[in-house]
Symmetry: C2
Amino acid sequence: MRIDEARPYVVDKLKYALNPSSIAVVGASRYPTKVGNKVVSELLKWGYQGKIYPINPRADKVLGLKAYPTLRDIHEEIDLVFIAVPAHLVTAVVQDAVAVQAKVVTIATSAFKEIGREELQNNITQYLRDHQIPLIGPNLVGMGTPYAHFNCGFIPYLPVEGPVAMISQSGANLLAALGTSQMNHFGMSFFVGLGNKADVDFSEFIEYAQNDPHTKCLSIYIEGLDSPQAFIKSCQKVTKPIVVIKVGGSKIGNKAAFAHTASENPESDDYYDQVIKEAGAIRAQTWQEFLDISLALGYMPPLKGDHVVMVTNGGGAGLLSCDHFERCGMPLHELKEISPLLESRIRAYMPMFGSPLNPVDISGTASVIQYKGAFKQVLRDPNVDGLLGAICPTAVTDVNGVAEAAIEVYESCKDLHKPFIMICQGGQECHEAIMKLRDHGIPAYPTAEQAVNAMVALRKQAIK
Amino acid sequence: MRIDEARPYVVDKLKYALNPSSIAVVGASRYPTKVGNKVVSELLKWGYQGKIYPINPRADKVLGLKAYPTLRDIHEEIDLVFIAVPAHLVTAVVQDAVAVQAKVVTIATSAFKEIGREELQNNITQYLRDHQIPLIGPNLVGMGTPYAHFNCGFIPYLPVEGPVAMISQSGANLLAALGTSQMNHFGMSFFVGLGNKADVDFSEFIEYAQNDPHTKCLSIYIEGLDSPQAFIKSCQKVTKPIVVIKVGGSKIGNKAAFAHTASENPESDDYYDQVIKEAGAIRAQTWQEFLDISLALGYMPPLKGDHVVMVTNGGGAGLLSCDHFERCGMPLHELKEISPLLESRIRAYMPMFGSPLNPVDISGTASVIQYKGAFKQVLRDPNVDGLLGAICPTAVTDVNGVAEAAIEVYESCKDLHKPFIMICQGGQECHEAIMKLRDHGIPAYPTAEQAVNAMVALRKQAIK
């Protein structure tokens, strides 16, 4: 339901949703195939340290925890009520939640507005608003944060720790990102699936994220905005970078978005372009770009100018990159234009058949020492704004060694505040190098175009 | 050097480059860090069964194999001479290769035309042409095929077996693809890095690929075409799908392409668009798209019409897909437009809050049985041209089970000749599902947009 701006009581209480001391899981089944069972088992599995109260009138225990017939039987403070019972039972549970003065209510249950039950959804929402209890959902997948070992929902993964807060209307895509997090070390501060966002809206999680110390970048997946003005206002308050992906712009997607999360998209895609621009956020088009630029904005400072130098041991990666830079409207400049001295300095770190253009091709025979020297020369040159490094695994490339050299140079040049992004295109050892680089705060990617998208986003962040 | 069309003696002799009975490695060093050592060690490591003759005047043995001072000392038939000695020594080796009547010569050595030594390169080329010995290179990384356990070059990977022949001017990007092959089960029939392509050109490998029984799709990475007419003619002869990525179109990339593989790009990018179109090939823009559509064209028949139905357990993946279909100029149609009966049939396989639009959202609770039923209904409907399935790992999704169901349905419907593509967006179990699906000939991808690109390419293949 529409809001004009983020409500302070909601923003304030969201800490009970993302860092609760106690959780009641309503509909906590004893049967492992049931979603209500999964919620409790995931909480246990990832090491949640708060109290867990399974609510199940037909069980004494669920997964070894004492079960309660209703919320009213707990007689302890409840920060978060997570509801996973069929839709027709939800109203009664919500009444109990109000009665026991729960801090936040989350309704995971589907089959509300998205299948036409708007009145039921609105009644529950208004009732909770009247009691100033934030409602997250309904029709959502869950939320969590790796910093509290907290994974609450139908979610098989807890992400690795990192800078990105993901606020997603879609549960499925959130799950995809969480899976990616573990597998590719895509670091997250917290995550939440908003579902139908009957009550708590983007704007309130956006303001929460601004205050969250672990969040360095906000990544927002939107299917529809009920309260665009609140969204814009909250984004404008935020000093951290914001990346948005807005879907449902296609003719058929519009209908699908309603069926999915009851999102209404009466406005054109251009309208959303405008909203996102006014909000001061960066818009991603594909899912991969969304993830890639979020990571870069989370780890790296903005790119102050367009003097990016690329250092690669593979000409092919260099060509893919400079073509894509031009496609993105930010063509590379030749090295001699950027810094005439750099060209001669960098020659010391390449064989005679290397190329000191830009991309700087230090050739397939490049050693760790040559990489390190070239990286240092580039980053320390006062005319250079950012460095894009690329590793291609020839038979003589020490992929891990180059990754470690990149980390060393990055650490030693951190006070220069220049973006440093890496491409590691290849097999398993490149995948491992990417993970190591990410663990040390360097955005690293398996393809040239992904890295270029990331660098271009850092420039957009500087000039927006 | 320019050719007017593929030369039959070259096309015929390329079998000695990709399936040789004997190889002489000139410059085979005893020292593991040297490239000449790597060539021999990689041949041994991947199980090459032919004869290997290391050429090294200062060694009796290299990696346990008897070494020879020169090619002339071998006194056995030599199919392939692989040269990895410094540029100034190459001419003498080539003279030896002619003297011993080698079938094919490969020069891996760099520092020819790409650094200005065009005359030297041309002299060697003409000399070998006069003797009708194909020259591959110089300045290349190598070649091989998993079907002969043959990995010849500075290449740390042998790809997994599969449908894609990769003909790449760039060594670095070829290596990236080979790394991807093992890690992501991107199946290849053979691969070759052309380097400066002084003699043997794209067109000749293209015609070779047409005759190679394992090749189902040709994937060609181009930095510059010396002989565009020969390229067009050969492509037009080929009945298999061809995917092309052409780089170096950017202003700065143009210079970098010359420095990399001595490629000259006097023509505009539009010119190459025209060449690729005339050739009947499909052009990819990014590296990822290049790989993704190659795999799809290698495994799947063309898409006969644009009646694609998507079945997903995650609305988010559905929305990303339908937006991207529209972006690619091939919007999805609603299910009721495609097949009114299908809508009611498919309802049997989803909960009440699922959505029978298109994408068909069978919801996050979808079981293997529901997936299997929905897949079958879609594929068997005579009005449906292709199926896009998506798995999103909710806490109750049996990802492996759904992948196996997809394989079963695909196998049972193979005679319908309808493309079936899968999206598995998530963590490790999704990655494993992607590999299993690919191993069974189903193109599967971790993001929606990649899968959509693949489906759209299958349509382009049908209408080109």
